[in-house]
């Protein structure tokens, strides 16, 4: 196998890791205003992802860095071409991340409500826009001879890509709800399970429509058969997840939604291969695993680094999930870090 193929697969794995992991914490952020009835319940939701969201987000940073290292042309075209969506994603992530850290540091209801909004929009915007971005990658965008994006911002908001955005959003919401039902106790868990059943159906409809459209978009692609197989498996996984939710088997349901996201992302990457960013102007202008790649020397070094360290990362991140495996309930939380009455006597 070519090093470029290996790196295409590794980039796919990094994005899969990112969407599977951050997918549920985006989902939790989006459903928080609807699912939680008071501050204590909101804190349960936030703390259910508290120890892990930051580690989840590093998958994005590594996916970006690895794309830069392995496929500089892809990185340059993608990031300069999708300029405004990425800007919006960055601003959203900034507010969301700061919100987790700062929300509990002051007692005022207005302070917390402001950060709750930041968590909601900060989760909603990337959950939607990542789907739009991937929709556009798969659909192909206007790349000229020099691999520069010559389209406009509005070109990126085409119906197919927007459907992609709804697809990631609905999948992440379902994934998040299943996560909440798996990781909490009490009323929140019950409500999350009921909502997951509804959200799952919506997600299934949108996902099937999006993957179906993708099949039409990528007609003539080299590995369309493999794409169809993976997409079908993704749909099957989602059905399995829904059955598991109904049966109250939350662990299986979570595996199901995680599998759905992983397979759906994998199917998109397979549908692209060997292109990484098809040009809608002329197939000759498309970025491919070959013309976008770094030298074999760089790819070789990076392969060693990835082979040694990725399993290590999975191991210690797995350890974190193990340490914080217990369900959280309202009564598991220590008093809010800054109780309103007496700021001097705060407890950490």
């Amino acid at each position: 196998m070519h090093l470029t193929t290996i790196w295409f697969a590794l980039i796919a794995i990094l994005w899969i890791g990112y969407f599977v992991l951050e997918g549920f914490d985006f989902g939790v952020g989006v459903v928080m205003p609807f699912l939680a009835r008071d501050d204590a319940e909101r804190r349960v939701l936030i703390n259910s992802i508290g120890p892990v969201w930051d580690g989840n987000e590093v998958w994005l940073i590594v996916a970006g860095g690895a794309t830069f290292a392995a496929f500089p042309e892809w990185y340059a075209t993608l990031f300069s071409g999708f300029y405004l969506p990425l800007f919006l994603i960055l601003v959203a992530l900034i507010f969301r991340n700061v919100a987790f850290e700062l929300r509990g540091k002051r007692p005022e209801a207005t302070w917390r409500a402001a950060w709750d909004r930041a968590i909601f929009f900060g989760s909603l915007v990337p959950a939607l826009l990542w789907g739009v971005a991937f929709g556009n990658i798969v659909r192909g965008v206007a790349l000229d001879r020099d691999h520069e994006y010559v389209g406009s911002f509005l070109d990126l908001l085409n119906p197919y890509a927007l459907l992609g955005g709804l697809c990631t959003l609905s999948l992440f919401v379902t994934h998040g709800l299943v996560f909440v039902s798996l990781k909490t106790r009490g009323d929140v868990r019950v409500r999350a399970r009921a909502s997951a059943r509804k959200a799952g159906v919506v997600a299934a409809v949108i996902a099937v429509a999006f993957l179906g459209f993708t099949y039409l978009q990528r007609r003539g692609a080299e590995h369309l058969g493999w794409f169809a197989l993976l997409a079908a498996l993704a749909a099957l996984c989602l059905v399995g997840a829904l059955i598991a939710v109904r049966a109250g088997r939350e662990g299986w349901a979570f595996l199901g939604t995680a599998g759905t996201i992983a397979l759906a992302v994998a199917s998109l990457f397979v549908s692209l291969f060997p292109d990484v960013m098809p040009s809608s102007l002329d197939p000759a202008f498309s970025l491919t695993t070959t013309n976008a790649a770094s030298t074999p020397y760089t790819l070789g070094i990076m392969t060693w680094v990835a082979v040694v360290f990725t399993p290590l990362v999975v191991l210690y991140q797995g350890f974190t999930y193990h340490v914080f495996r217990r369900r959280l309930g309202v009564d598991d939380l220590p008093a809010s870090p800054t109780p309103p009455a007496e700021p001097v006597a705060s407890a950490r």
Partner: protein
Amino acid sequence: MNTLGVARWQFGITTVYHFLFVPLTIGLAFLVAGLQTAHHRSRDEQWLRLTNFFGKLFLINFAMGVVTGIVQEFQFGMNWSAYSRFVGDIFGAPLAIEGLLAFFLESTFLGLWIFGRGRLSARLHLATIWIAALGSLLSAYFILAANSFMQHPVGYRFNPERRRAELTDIVAVLTNRVAVVTFAHTICSAFLTAGAFVLGVAIWQLARHPTRDAAAFRKAVKLGAAVCLVAAAGVAASGDAQAKVMTEVQPMKMAAAEALYDTRRHAGFSLFTVGTLGGQEELYSVRVPGLLSYLATGDGDGTVDGIRDTEAAYRAKYGPGDYAPNIPLTYWTFRLMIGVGMLAAAAAAWALWAIRGQRLPSGKWAVAAAIVLPLTPLLGNSFGWIFTEMGRQPWIVFGLMPTASGVSPSVSLGEVLVSLIGFTLVYGVLAVIEVRLLIDVIRRGLPPLPASTGAPGASADDKRRLAFAY
């Protein structure tokens, strides 16, 4: 106003802002780990309360460093796509390795540290903060190796067919001598920054609330001051070494640091200059004779190449063009960097003297010093980076690619303006929130210890309860 200018302003603003948090985070990670280790060894609760107090301040900072760091990684592709295409084969590798080796460690183990008290054994919990601190150190090395390639490209060849620089020797890139000295200098100043922060906060507490936890904050003063003094010595030594490397690999930058137009033996270092710095006779300056020669060559009688000769040499090598950076900017940032850094060291020495015996620092001046002190290294770090990046101009990669060729050709002026204004506003809002929050936490002083959840007498309910939650 053009895309290039706006993109440069954006890089400058976002990078300087990002780097307000980075050194403080690196240094504080180690100091907090040290405080927790002191508690682990001595079982003295004062250390634990200091750990929790500075840990809280550290985390607020860390969050800001993380979010502004993501912007940095995306920015290369967004605003500097031509640069990214040109150097991606080399520059991308340390960036990717940084993420895979360092960021994962930092974020995962910090998550364990924040939420893990009571869940993990005391020993393992202590290990998590050390691992996170180590992660931040690794991260610094790889990103500085990437930056050092831009200052002094090594381990590459130019591929005319692909019109890009390609990696030929990763070891050369990672052991770039610019990277080695820059790492030493940056880490020493990170400790200076964190030491000054701890010292400033502790002096403020003693001066404003002399009866509140004075014993604990005396310890913090001593720790902060000691770290400051040792780090300042390290900053000076590493800076001296860095100046010599810089003179060899980027002679123009050294000449620009002194606004030295004509090549000179026994060149002096001016503390300040009144005049234009434009190459004409200066009106007035205070000079230390031979100091520039000593900085540049290690010999007070050494010869330092001036801007005019250096520019002539660059023209001969790289073709016609303007190769001098913005001289007043490099001149002033260079001395302000040194000046404010030395100020922090002097303040540390004063603080140790002020708390000698059982004395406490008191009065308006102590409070003012406590507030100014943590700011001096922050300023020094900013001046240092503005100097080193502006001193590299007009190159984005020294000798290989001019900055003007690096900007994204497909991005419009409007787009870059939106993101420049957007990030500046967002960062401004965050700065206000962050500073107010830090002041809030500092004002409240040491938090009381939470009821011991792991104690033998604790009920099952207490044991379930998290020791910390957002």
